[in-house]
Amino acid sequence: MRRHQIALLAAAVALVTLPYWMSGVYYINVASQILFFAVFALGLNIIAGYGGLVSLGHAALFGISAYVVGYLLQHGFGHASAILGALLAGLAATAVYAALALRATGIGFIMITLALGEILWGLAYRWISVTNGDNGINLHGRPQPFGIDINSATAFYYATLIVFVAAVAAVAVFVRSPLGAALMGTRDQPRRMNALGYHVWAIRFWACMFSGLLTSVAGILFVYYTQFISPQTLALTSSAEVLLMVIAGGAGTLLGPIVGAGLVVVVKSVVSGFIERWNFLLGAIFVAIVILMPEGLVPGTVRLWRRAWQGKNGTSP
């Protein structure tokens, strides 16, 4: 228990002081990207990891919120209404998405979410009067929460960090709660949960809504970070990427999606500067994870660490 607290404190100190020891705006921006993609991955992990419902259409929910921010700002609304509108639109889209996709589980759920994601990608691409098609929507400036200017890389990093910490805390509370336990129960034994008096569909629906909320929040951070949104953000590759973060880091763990987001963003934005075929590298890393740590980086490392620890103390058989 003590060790956990020390690790948590060290992580907190590292994150808060990051702009002071990380050299250059570029790397601070990479850190911001890791944080909001981690929020996205935490959102997907709610249903994919804790609920056992793998979604391949989550980028569409992420993108809808980003588009709504862009669209409302373009039409003269303020930042507060744009953000609120984006959250509401994200939740409404999630409700429709859940109502349709939850007719199935397993492969069926994956296929329905994939189809919904493709439909929304197609809309973003073709509904030019609203989305500006392939050209996307440009934003001009970031909001000023409580009068604080977050246009600089460091200020935006701190704004993202605050949202990130809130998201992690929300997931941590949810996972320990009765509803979180019920969600994991529906993942492991849906039939038994039903026979114990739980409404399995409703539990999954509310889990989707929570997932959609975090995904929307991440989408809003994303669009304010890049100040640009185009159909590419909703594409299947984006959905696959965030799923990769969850699976590589460790589905159904709190830390896994965060580590996974770090891995994917670093390979994508930093390593890609040195290796042209970074997609190949990411694929190779993923294959290595699947072979060596099929449960994901975080649970896999814990397992290897324990084994090494036991071996050293001679308690292992």
Binding site: S177, P178, A195
Partner: protein, 245 residues
């Protein structure tokens, strides 16, 4: 008023009629045994009673209340609990957590996303109490994966009893148990008070027969014989379809 009334129940899967006009009543407090050869439709009958399957026609009433159209997840709230023939538990969690989930299922707290479940003292105490009843309180914190088959069977029963059911449906509670474990489970079932009505499916005659008061014999989805233990055992049709070979 009967604890359970099943009236003209029918269910087919395509051309296969698995439940044909099944009608029977179980009195409050009764111990009823349902027997029949493999494929007689015993588990299907349980699934119809619990609502996991929807009957094609007929009706089911629990203590006089028609529940034919009540969704299956509402039925535990009306006092119906069941165990499964193939043990259906939460393998990654502790025994205590398994029983806590059973308790939680009947309280509105199950929708709460904000409180810490492990800190709900009342829930934890109730779960410990339920485990004491089945003699598993000592290993409450043990992960389910590290328990024996017999212990898991008792966890299943503890989960059903934790819900304080009026009607308890046991699907082959002795299946796969060793002789010692069978005696443990039998004694456990003997301690269940009479305000719980029990309907049990069982193949293991030596244990089940002494437990049952009345027996219903199913064959190809139909009730062939029903009566007291002695009547059913003595009936030539029983010997023909079930005990004769």
């Amino acid at each position: 008023m009967s604890a359970l009334t099943v009236n003209n129940l029918r269910k087919s899967f395509g051309g296969l009629h698995v439940t044909r006009n099944v009608t029977f009543e179980v009195a409050p407090g009764e111990r009823r045994l349902i027997i029949g050869p493999n494929g007689a439709g015993k588990t299907t009958l349980f699934n119809l009673i619990t609502g996991e399957l929807t009957p094609d026609s007929g009706s089911i009433a629990l203590f006089g209340e028609d529940i034919t159209r009540v969704p299956s997840c509402r039925r535990p709230h009306l006092g119906m609990a069941r165990t499964y023939q193939i043990i259906t538990l939460f393998p990654h969690d502790t025994i205590l957590h398994n029983v806590s989930l059973a308790l939680l299922g009947l309280t509105p707290m199950r929708w709460n996303p904000l409180i810490n479940m492990r800190r709900q003292r009342h829930l934890q105490e109730q779960a410990h109490e339920a485990l004491r009843r089945v003699g598993l309180a000592d290993i409450a914190e043990r992960p389910l994966a590290q328990t024996s088959y017999g212990e898991r069977r008792r966890v299943e029963i503890a989960m059903a009893l934790a819900q304080n059911p009026r009607l308890l449906l046991l699907d082959e509670p002795f299946a796969g148990l060793s002789i010692d474990e069978r005696q443990d489970v039998r004694q456990l079932l003997m301690t269940i008070p009479r305000d719980v009505t029990i309907v049990m499916i069982e193949h293991n005659m030596d244990v089940a027969l002494e437990f049952a008061e009345r027996i219903t014999l199913l064959h190809f989805g139909e009730v062939i014989v029903e009566g007291t233990r002695a009547e059913v055992v003595a009936d030539p049709r029983t010997r023909e379809v079930y005990l004769g070979h």
